[in-house]
Amino acid sequence: MKIDLLIAMINTATLEMPTAPHAPSVPFRSGFGGFTRTALQLGTKEILILFRVLVFLVIVVLLFFNEKNNQAIYQTRVEIFLSLFTCSIVAMFFVGARWYENKGLLSALFVADTLFITAGLYLSGIRDTDLFLIFFTTVFISALSQDVKSVFSVAIVACALYLFLQYKTTGEFMISDTVSLVRFPFLFLAASMSGFLAMETKKNEDERKRLEGMNVILAGQADASILKMTEMNRKLKSLLEYHHCVLSSIKTGLIVVQNDGKVRTFNSGARQITDCVEAEMAEKRLEEFPENLKPVAEALQRTLAEGKTYVQDHLDLKISRNETIPVTLETSLLKAGNGEVVGAIATLKDMTLLRQMETQLVRSERFSALGEMAAGVAHEIKNPLNAIMGFSQRLSDKLQEPSLKKYAEIISEEVRRMDTIVNDVLEYSRPDRVHKTPVDAHQVLEETLVFLNEKLEKGGVQVERFYAVDLPPVAMDVPKVRQVVLNLVLNALQAMPQGGKLTLKTRVIEGLLPEAAEAENQAALYERLFLQQKVLSIQVGDTGCGIPKENIAKLFHPFFTTKITGTGLGLSICHKIIHSHGGSLDVDSEVGKGSVFTIHLPMEGN
């Protein structure tokens, strides 16, 4: 409503002000109709002085060039009169302009002028001629005061003085004289007309001044309003753009529905999480939500109905036929500025990354606690093993009876097996000590493969290599990484008892966008990508039996094994080694198709 008013005001102002508001003001008129004061740049003072000078000149002409003039008689008086008149004109120069705006002073001046003219006429000896007309000029000039009263007073004084002149000349008041009878009404007619004109002019002028003032105010207001509106427009536009950017940039999915259950906002974050297209969701009602978004629709419905906020921390949102992602769903009421409920908002946060990190954290914590315990236990076992091993060896050395000798050897053998297990536990629980040296990662892989060549060939396993080109040296603890690769390749071999394909793949991951990182293991890369570090990815893939989903989570747990002879520490040691390199070890597997283990190693110095 305010804006409408503003526009109306601006329209009015614009229509009424075809000329620029700051251009010179409309010509300012004086008491004389048509006399443009501004055009001549003359003030009341200047006009009056000019007028008096003219009157002075007329009187001088009358006094010196009139044939009827009787100079001899009035010589002294004429001189005094002219001196006085000249003095008064000169004096006028020194009177400040603002005094000429004073009506009383102006009236006095006009009366004085009338007296001067009368005196001039009297002294010139021309009293009953048409020079009477000069009185008209005083009447007109008096209209400068823009006041009827002063005009009329001047007219009355002029009439009186004229009568006095007549009396002085003829010795009688010639009121009955037709000429005089005509002259008086004319004088008054002129007085009233000029007075009326003066008043009209004054009125017009006042009105103009008022309008002008209003124009200036309106122009100022209009300018300010236009500026304000332009500014508001600009702000509004940038605010809208800003909001749009915020909505489309946040990763959080945002779904806003109106009170009637229609979708009002469905941002790109929501699209990325739910796999539903914005355009399809626009204006959709809660009941029409796609099947996978039913939990969201229900929560929104409940919030709209009950006015409460709902949080579902562990919601698995189906995004395809056999894929779900963990999300946190939160719904709340959408309220207008006045507190009125206008709809409801649902936010969806993709928790995949967080869940992965949580899992890793839990795993690491469990590992370190277990590691400490294992180290203690292993140490305690090692001491008795030392004695058992030593004495069993001594027994087998000293015993002559073959069967007894064999028993002692079995004891030694079993103790050795126990020692291997304990060593694994100790290896796993040992404080991380990594001595990194920059090496060619491919060389490390090849050295490990050489060691396994025989087994690979015997097992009917083909090796395929997909190595990165121009791979720079990567800092790593060579024996430890070799141990990891060995472990992974051995696992792959065991997963393919009937033979198969072993794939070794290396590549450098660098400056990935978050979207691209989703395809990789986000949790592992998260930190590195934030630091814009390069990461070397080494993948060991097999075409073996694969790992059931329920086992994948436990895969890196110490002592978890599906093998008859395994200690269940191999992969957890690998995990630990890679972890102590600042990297990560992850697995992707499908039962019946195979598994891919991925090592991520940070490439330092990049």
Binding site: N383, P384, A387, M389, G390, E427, R430
Partner: protein, 129 residues
Amino acid sequence: MEKRPFTILLAEDESASRFLYTEVLEEAGFRVIPVENGLQVLGTLEDEPVDLLLTDIKMPDMHAMEMIPLVRAEHPNLPILVASAFKGMEDDFALKGFNISGFFVKPVNMEGLKKKIGEIAVAFAATAA
């Protein structure tokens, strides 16, 4: 003057292991002084001439890390062998600059131990002569 046999001071808190080392090493012709803890090690070193110290790491009163500096203060050139259940500890001893002659991981390979001590004894005899 009768030739003094090569004397080994053995520090091991586990009695079974202590008995094992003593048997094996005495059989190999060395003189063995078995003790149970760090204080006994320091005491014996004051009283008797010792040619080699074979010690466990974790003992009830003292860790080898604490004990060895005390031994080194008086006997800077005494050969010391360390036997431990922890594989990685040898790095620690090396880093500390203890001048360790050998490191054995439990269960100790007795043949290896005998061989190592034999080498040290031969070197010792050569120096003495």
